[in-house]
Every structure is written in structure tokens, then in C-alpha cells.
Amino acid sequence: MTGGEYLALLERSPKLAHEKLFGEYYNYVRTIAFNRLRSTGTSEDVEECISDIFAQIFFTFGEKYSNGDMKGFVGTVAKRMSIDYYRKLIRKAGKTFSMDEDGVPEISAELDLVKESENSELRHILMDSIRELGEPDSTILIQKYYYNKRSHQIGTLLSMNPSTVRMRCKRAAEKLRRVLENRGIKEGMI
């Protein structure tokens, strides 16, 4: 749905327009919020954050964005608000630190940039390798090792028996290791 189409639908029925936009971008927004908050917030925090994001999108999306990339707009709002929410949670949990305090790690900008660049390369190789496994194995691995989902939960999601999920997961993990090794990525590098 383009921005113009969304606005046209909004004229006819705001509720339907919101539902359509929500349905189209829910997974995208949820993924952004979840990845930002997964180490800090609860699932309720993630839901709160997602609803804040959509409320903001409903409220601010207007004519001036109608010719632009709607996904870009949604992604920008989602990222900014997820970061804000993350900061809020950190503050609430008392996890802030003062730059005046002792023990603040010294930052080497050059080193971080190199490390981040390496990590970015590794992430893309890893995702390419996971993608190469095909479905449903790639989904099983991500749900199992990234989201720590149990086999029966993944089974429900994919309409598979939990024992089948376990078996496929084991084989897919072995295959992934082989694929990564072929690409020069050894255990411990990731």
C-alpha cells in the first residue's frame, strides 16, 4: 500500500485504513521493537512499544509523506520510538551511568569501527547461510537459537510435531556449521 492509497482509504474509513496499515507493517514494526527491547523489556513492554509506534504513525502520517516510501516512514518511526522506549526502560531500571564516574570504559573509536565492520560482515554471511538452508529449517533455527523458543512452540507455529522440530533443528544446525566452515567461519568466531 502506498502512502497515497493509505490516505485515500483513510478518507473513506479511518478504521479500515488503520487496520490495513497495521496488518501490513505489524511484523516489520514488531521485529524492530522486539530486537531493540529483547534484552531489556518484557513482552508487555514490546506490546506497549508497538502500540505507541502505530498510534504515532496513525497520528502523524499525512499528505507530506504521501509520495514517499511508506515503509521508510514506518521504519523510521519504529526505530526512533524503540530507541526512546529502550532508553526509558534503562532509566527505569537504574542502568544509567555517569560519564564522570570511574569505571566508564574508554572508547576507542577506531577499534570499534573495525570491530563493527567485521561483525556486520559476519552477520551477513551468517544470514546468507541460514537462508541457504531453506524453509522450514531457517525459521526453526532463528526461532530456536535467536528467540529461544521451545520445540513445541515452534511446532505450533509451523504445524509440525515437536519431535520433528527437534530432529530438523539438529540436522539444520549441523548443516549450518558445515556451510559456515566452507565460508571460512569457524566455531567461536560468531
Partner: protein
Amino acid sequence: MKDIDLRILENAEDDIVEELVPFSPDEDQVMKRVLAMSEKKYKDLIRHQDKEKEQDNRKETIKSSETVVEGVEVYHRPAWYKPLCAAAAFILIAGGLGTGFAFSRKARLSGVSQPNPTTTAETTELTTEAPAKPEDILPKEEEMKGIFEELFPFFSEFSGLCTEDYFSRDWESINFDLRSYDGELYETPFYKVEDERFSTYDEMVEYYSRYFFEPAERLPYAGDVSDHQAGDVLDDCYFLEYNGALYVRGTMKRAETQEEWNHDILSDRAFFVNPDSFMWERVVKNEENDVAFADALTMEFKKSDDGVWKILSYNIMGTQYEEGKDYTASEYPLLEGGPSFRADDDIDFDSVMASVQTYLEGYNENFYDYNAHWDMMTELPDSYYHVTDDFRNNNRWIRVVLEPYPGDDTDTRVLYVDGYGVVFGEEY
């Protein structure tokens, strides 16, 4: 062997993040809940914005003029309560009722339509032919409930024709690419209908005409596409004919069943009853993942020329369930604004509701702080607050009832509006 560690994917780039979709088995319920929360927060944002605007306007008004609203004393009634019900209301099935309550933000902010200049000329016309409604010719509650229950199975089947409750995945099928209104293409299966009652679209429409008014309006049809091949692009549709047979689109939706509307009934009543039409609303409580909803099915019925009751429209909406609330207390349906069968064709409901909003703004009140209902009225009460003589005096007016939400410390307001959108009276 060590487990795979994918933590490196945290804070990944956009292209990777998009592939890390977190699923959960109860995703549908979560989505429903989050959408309701988003709508509520959105409306809070609107209210907040409106309040600021109102304050600005008030300051401006005080500066520029002493009297803005003629004949009406301006006073302020605080609206503390943030309405939960309406904000959390969501449409489960989009109905066909043109209630006129679906405002866009733009419409809300655009102000009131001015009444047609002919209004003045008509003020002296007084029609005395208010239709009589003797109680004995109105259908009784039991009779109406019987009609609702008798026609429910046809509603269930009709609204579920594109679900597996009707078609079978074993039926012969053909795939087409459907172009949705947003331009995207979706590969969609269509199943060859195996139904002894009908084998063409016209026969299907004729069959359901026994139970519905204008059933074709709810059965989007692509026509005969025999000159197409599987995989061709078609416009969005739910039925088509191909090589002489009727095909139905396969969807993942499910039909509404009698069982799910027969449990935990909170309210089961008729509204807007006329000799030949009425609305029936059944409200049931549904609990999903610790969140309780009050789901309302409203169906409008009308008697055909040959005296047979048929379904005029249906609509399903839901809102958050409120513990302790008496769902049978209101004289209006839970979520439906008003009856479609009572409105005159020449009434512009957008203007009517925009006028109501402007009228309320004169009292520093907001339309969205109320749960609005409407009905047609033909007679004015003996005493009411008369706002203006400049209105269309033809005994076809709209009575707009504005009910405060639970916990809101304001009174119900009842306004009288003419077909052009002039608020000409208010109940004391």
C-alpha cells in the same frame, strides 16, 4: 556439540532485522490487543491535540469577540475520562451500514457544512403526517428473536462462503493472481463449487435472495473469465465463473458459527423496531488470553413486499469487556450508531455529525468524548431547548443521543438535527 549462538544478530542492519520475525502461537490475539491499544493511544493523541486547539481558539475568541455562540451560554464541562470502550472498539467484519459515523481526521477538522439556503424558505412548512406506530402492529420481541435465530444459519453460511467451513480443499481448483487495490499481486486459489443448490453466480445470488436483500452487494464477482489462463491477473474478487462453472475464492478465514454466538450472552435485544423492520443485536463475552471482549453481532431485518422477513445488513464489532456493566441497560445498541433502514436518502450524515461536533465545541466539549447514537424522529417533545428557528421543519429529523462513557462525570445530551445538519434543539 555447542549450541549455535545467534546473538551477533542483535542490533543487525535493517535488511537482516526484517528477516528476524518473532512469531508466537497466540499472535492473532496479540495483534488484536495491540491494535486496540494503538487506536486508543491514537485517539488520546487526537484529543490532546483538539484540546490544545480549543484552548488556542478560546483565547482567540475572547480576544476578538464577546459573543460567539448566540443564544447559548458558553460553559465548560470537563471531560476527564479517556473513553476506553470506543477507543478499543474494533471492527471484526466490515458491515454495509452507512452510519455516517466514520469520520476522517480531515473531515473532523474541516468544520461544519453550512445549511442550504433553502432552509429558511422551508421553515414555515409544517407537515402533520407523522406516521403512526401503534404498538399492536409492531413485531413482538419473541417474534423478532425467532426471526434472528431462524435466519442466523443463512447468515453464517453466506458470510462464510469463502471459508473452509463451506468449500473443500478437495474441490477442483485454479489459481489466479489477484490485484488488490494497492497494486500488489497475490496468487489466490479458486475452488469449483460443488453445491447442488446452485452452479452459476446468478443461481447463487437468486438462492440467497430468499434470505437477503441485495446479496450480490456482498458477493464480489469477476464475471466469466473463461478467456483467461491459470496464473493470469484478475481484479480483486471472491467469485468467478470459468468454463461454465462457479468458483469461490479460498481464504483462511472462518465462518461465524451458532455455537460461538450462543454462549455467555450479555445482551440479546431488538432496537429501532418498526412494523416492517428492526435491528437485532446479540452481545457475547469472549475471553482470549486473559483479555475479555464484548463482541456484538447486529443484523438488520426488513419485510419484503411479499411479507417475508429478510436480512438487510449485518455487522460484527467488538470492544473491551467491562466487568459489572449491565449490557442490557442502554436503550441503544452497544456499538452500532443507528439503523440504516430509517435514514432518508436526502440526509447528509457527514454534515449532521460535523454539525453536532461543532455544536459541542461551542460548549468546549468533544464529540469523541461521547458514545453517539442516532435515530430518526418525527415529533418534537412539548418542551425542549430551541436553538434556532432557522431549520428544516419537515418532521423528519435526527435525534442524536450522546452518552458519556462509564466513569465520565457528564450528562447524556440529546440533540435534534435536521436533514441539512442544523442543530436546532436540545433536550433539557
